[in-house]
Subunit: 609 residues, 2 copies
């Protein structure tokens, strides 16, 4: 069923064209009707039956065998598979016993009267059948053939329908204005990931912005009140798997709104747009402060479909004799933490433990070493010597350990220990699911707001300087505003992330509407070049309303809704992970004379580079 | 009224935010209600009244004068105009005699209880009042202030609503799939107007395509059946007035469709999306072959709101003694043609005639010289000597000339004579309208299909070679298909343009779905480099369905619907005619180190260039 809401009228799929019906829609209620169908020859059996396919499904066509229909038979039997034909005929019942209950049109077939070959098909590089496995490179090279698969058809149609529902919610129910903003813009401070577009003015370049952030704020200052856009965004990250150089976000901004308002709007939006054949979205979504997400799940985007939470067990070891644990606890922010893999001993094999250890050492400093315990009477683990008996008992009680549970324990600085265990938690989930345990039900959708992020983080390469945790326009938390001038590193923000099943699908914030505060943060705290933003700072001076918004990552959202393995499966013409279009082989060389109007030339790398 | 269809429910404009109502919506039905409003201080009178503005209109607020409300009075009286405030109070009737019937909220006012200054406004560069004239440069520099004007608010909201209606028609009523196609693509043959985007691969560039033409065809080959997209397109034309480097088109493609199908779809689309407060769109639209449009209106985009058609009067002069006319008629395609300006002698002054003459000589060869006649008994014109008496009488009869009509006559090659008179027809319309004659009613919308274009035109710089009249994927007219291989210059195409009030607002065609024909046209007729299109040619081999489509220019359409003087008035953040964003001053210089990852450097022009 292609409809999202059961109350809606079906669209007319055959208006304006040379067919009366789609292949997929025919049912016993059509019996006796004269129909004209257009489609692709999917399959042919002994020159007697043919299966015709269009975007709505498959239908069986009976090839006429009598002499008078020789020309029709010739057309239908000689055309190669995947050729395009138009047929006319009558919808008839299949003979008793020959119905196919697995096929939506399986009760009927078409008795053909006329057939016309519209286009013949050459030998294909692969068969258009969902069960035929193709490499992704081949699929991308022949994307137009790959799009014929039932899965890609479903993904693209569902995407279109969900976006349409979002538009109805925003535009028709809540009075939002769909405003298109430019993509040829000025570079933003720190916008090293922005594609450049040379202009005809020597040395002058447009930038393709990473989001309409500045424009959406300027629209609020312009009194548009409620803006949204299904916005094309650009980010040049070089080669990164599962990222696209261009991507789409549902971009929203409102005036006179607070964090709760944006959150309610977003919840209502997803609830309204959610496909009707899934469990309805339950609102409001739970909310969790960033600090708690990090402490409990080791990440700012926890998958809350399953437990295996991180527990701080430092108190158990306050008086331990183990030098290793003592040492860790005595350092600043030193902790001992653990997660419990319930019944892990049943499922995790020796090589799994090895891979968990490897994951820990690969991604984290040595100081954060995992310790494995099997929680039976014997504390069966090489590192059990660290655990004195009384501590072992207390641990068992505290974490409600049962026979066959496995404990992953680590000691170290709070954030690092959490991150490690957060990573190992997902690693364990993968391993357990590989052994048949269902931890993360793919039909379950667990939404979560993560809130109260820090406004700034220390820069990785120079921890004495601060950088924006999200972007420099984020407003400080109202309770922390006074700390901006004294201890900016302690200020929480009014940023919120929306997390679904462990993936960030959106983020937004209440913005700074005070020009002086914005100037102070940009120049004094962040030490940015404010001239690049002078237009925005000036705009804040001229009666900027309080405002805030959110952006939802449409590609990721659709990926989760459809259960697709990659965002490339919910995009019609994606780029490969190196940013290439394998079908047309873009990007491509350009003759030097075409570079001339843009006053640029190629700097070919030398061998030494 | 913000709604397009009267049957639709009004959106909730105040959900999720810190107000109960919008300023513009309050009416006597709200009397006695406690309301909270947010908005800008538009105007203040003697510290007694204040007019508050939001995106939905204006409302009068009574500033309390009693001692107990001193703080409220202070907030409302001290805030500069255009400051942002939130007020709470009661909706009350205006005292009898003080109602303002010109103001939608003019029967009521707000008795304020609380007031809060949300943001103060500095001195503005211009007043936010529609009657205050600003230069366009100033408006673009402070676009966020210009957007507060009632006109820009109306234009952007109507645009959003019309696009939403189009989406409903396409998606919900007719089963179209909204598919997003890439903008980082490969350059197309002859794509000299495509912006380039350097990639991280040395010497390799993406192109920003002028339209999703290739992708929409590939989607049909991919079985998507019915595609649409509100597509961002890019065209680098350097400096051209009333063009934008990025623009938006409603992009549509269907499989198994013919020209009539696309035309009916488009007519239904415009009819459905048309604003409810205008005269309804009448369908079907009239249709006119290209040759007739040229012969009758001298252009392929005739404004059919008025007559003043071109008449071929060659036959009148077959036996003329005038050497000038004889000479013109004896040349290949030689003609004598005229338009009649009814009652022109009443309105056109000597200087108008001069400017018409100047227009003719400025734009056309000398051989095409206009001749002016006043059609009274005396043929009052310096060139009347060309016209023998019998010819004068015949002309009078043929063109139904009345006293005071003015005839513009020219002799020359058919197409040139038509073009000249077509241009003079519009020039005369401008002149007459300058004198108060209404020829082109701005509330009238005359749609016209122009069809049967030639498939190829001779190249301007080398008339022996052919180029596509539109694009190389256009299918030949079914009656002319055989001429492709013999006399390609005579082949008509299945291209159609949609014209509204003399402006082209859309164009489309049935496409070539036969790989061999497409190859032949590209390589043999057009002599293009087919390697740049090898993916498309290959795709046509693999069961491409017959297909066709159309693209509507949204910016131009909205410009005509709103009656805006420029497309910049229907775009939130337009570029100046030199392609600059005057607000942020994009395009901008980029430090050389940011060019490095893209392996390009600037070639600074030398003085001699």
């Amino acid at each position: 069923n292609l409809m999202l809401g059961s109350q809606r009228k079906m669209p007319e799929f055959s208006s304006f064209v040379a067919r009366t019906n789609t292949c997929g829609e025919l049912r016993p209620s059509h019996l006796g009707q004269e129909v004209t169908l257009c489609g692709w020859i999917q399959y042919r059996r002994q020159n007697i039956f043919l299966v015709l396919r269009d975007c709505h499904g498959l239908v069986q066509v009976v090839i006429p065998q009598d002499e008078s229909a020789a020309s029709v038979k010739k057309v239908l039997c000689e055309a190669p598979l995947e050729s395009v034909v138009r047929i006319s005929g009558t919808v008839i019942s299949r003979p008793p016993g020959q119905e196919n209950p697995k096929m939506p049109t399986g009760a009927i077939e078409i008795k053909v009267k006329t057939a016309e070959l519209l286009n013949s098909c050459r030998k294909l590089p692969f068969e258009i059948k969902d069960f035929v496995k193709k490499t992704e490179a081949l699929r991308l090279q022949y994307r137009y053939l790959d799009l014929r698969s039932a899965q890609m058809q479903h993904n693209l149609r569902l995407r279109s329908q969900m976006v349409m529902r979002m538009r109805e919610y925003l535009c028709n129910l809540h009075g939002f204005v769909d405003v298109e903003t430019p993509t040829l813009f000025k570079r933003t401070p720190g916008g090293a990931k922005e594609f450049l577009v040379p202009s005809r003015e020597p040395g002058k370049f447009y930038s393709l912005p990473q989001s309409p952030q500045q424009f959406k704020q300027l629209l609020m200052i312009g009194g548009l009140d409620r803006y949204f856009q299904v916005a094309r965004c650009y980010r040049d990250e070089g080669s990164r798997p599962d990222r696209q150089p261009e991507f789409t976000q549902i971009d929203i901004e409102m005036s006179f709104v607070d964090q709760t308002g944006i959150q309610s709007l977003t919840e209502g939006l997803l609830q309204y747009a959610w496909p009707g054949d899934r469990d309805p979205v339950v609102t409001p979504f739970p909310s969790m402060p960033f600090a708690e997400a990090l402490a409990t799940y080791g990440t700012d985007k926890p998958d809350t479909r399953f437990g295996m939470k991180i527990t701080d067990i430092s108190d158990v070891f306050r008086n331990t004799k183990s030098e290793f644990l003592q040492d860790s606890l005595s350092k600043p922010q030193g902790t001992v933490k653990a997660i419990c893999v319930r019944e892990g001993a049943k499922y995790l094999k020796r090589k799994d433990i090895k891979s968990i250890r490897k994951c820990a050492t690969d991604h984290f400093n040595q100081e954060v070493l995992p310790v494995f315990l099997k929680a039976n009477s014997n504390w069966n683990a090489p590192v059990a010597k660290f655990i004195e008996e009384e501590h072992g008992l207390e641990l068992t009680r505290m974490m409600e350990l049962q026979e066959d549970d496995v404990l992953l324990l680590t000691a170290g600085e709070h954030a690092k220990a959490c991150s490690l265990l957060g990573k190992l938690r997902l690693e364990c989930a993968d391993l357990l699911e590989g052994r048949g345990v269902v931890l993360r039900d793919p039909t379950q959708f667990s939404f979560l707001w993560v809130v109260d992020f820090p406004l700034f983080f220390p820069k990785e390469d120079n921890p004495k300087e601060l950088e924006s945790a999200h972007h420099p326009f984020t407003a400080p938390h109202p309770s922390d505003g006074h700390l901006i001038y004294t201890e900016p590193e302690k200020v929480r923000s009014q940023h919120y992330d929306l997390v679904l099943n462990g993936h960030e699908i959106g983020g937004g914030s209440i913005r700074i509407h005070d020009a002086e505060l914005q100037r102070y943060i940009l120049s004094t705290v962040l030490k940015e070049d404010v001239t690049l933003l002078s237009h925005l700072l000036q705009a804040l001076d001229y009666g900027a309303p309080p405002h805030g918004g959110i952006a939802l990552g449409l590609d990721r959202l659709m990926c989760l809704v459809t259960g697709a393995p990659s965002i490339r499966d919910v995009i019609a013409f994606p780029k490969s992970f190196r940013g290439r279009d394998l079908m047309s082989s873009a990007p491509d060389s350009v003759p030097p004379e075409e570079l001339k109007p843009y006053h640029i030339q190629v700097s070919w790398p030398t061998d030494s580079e």
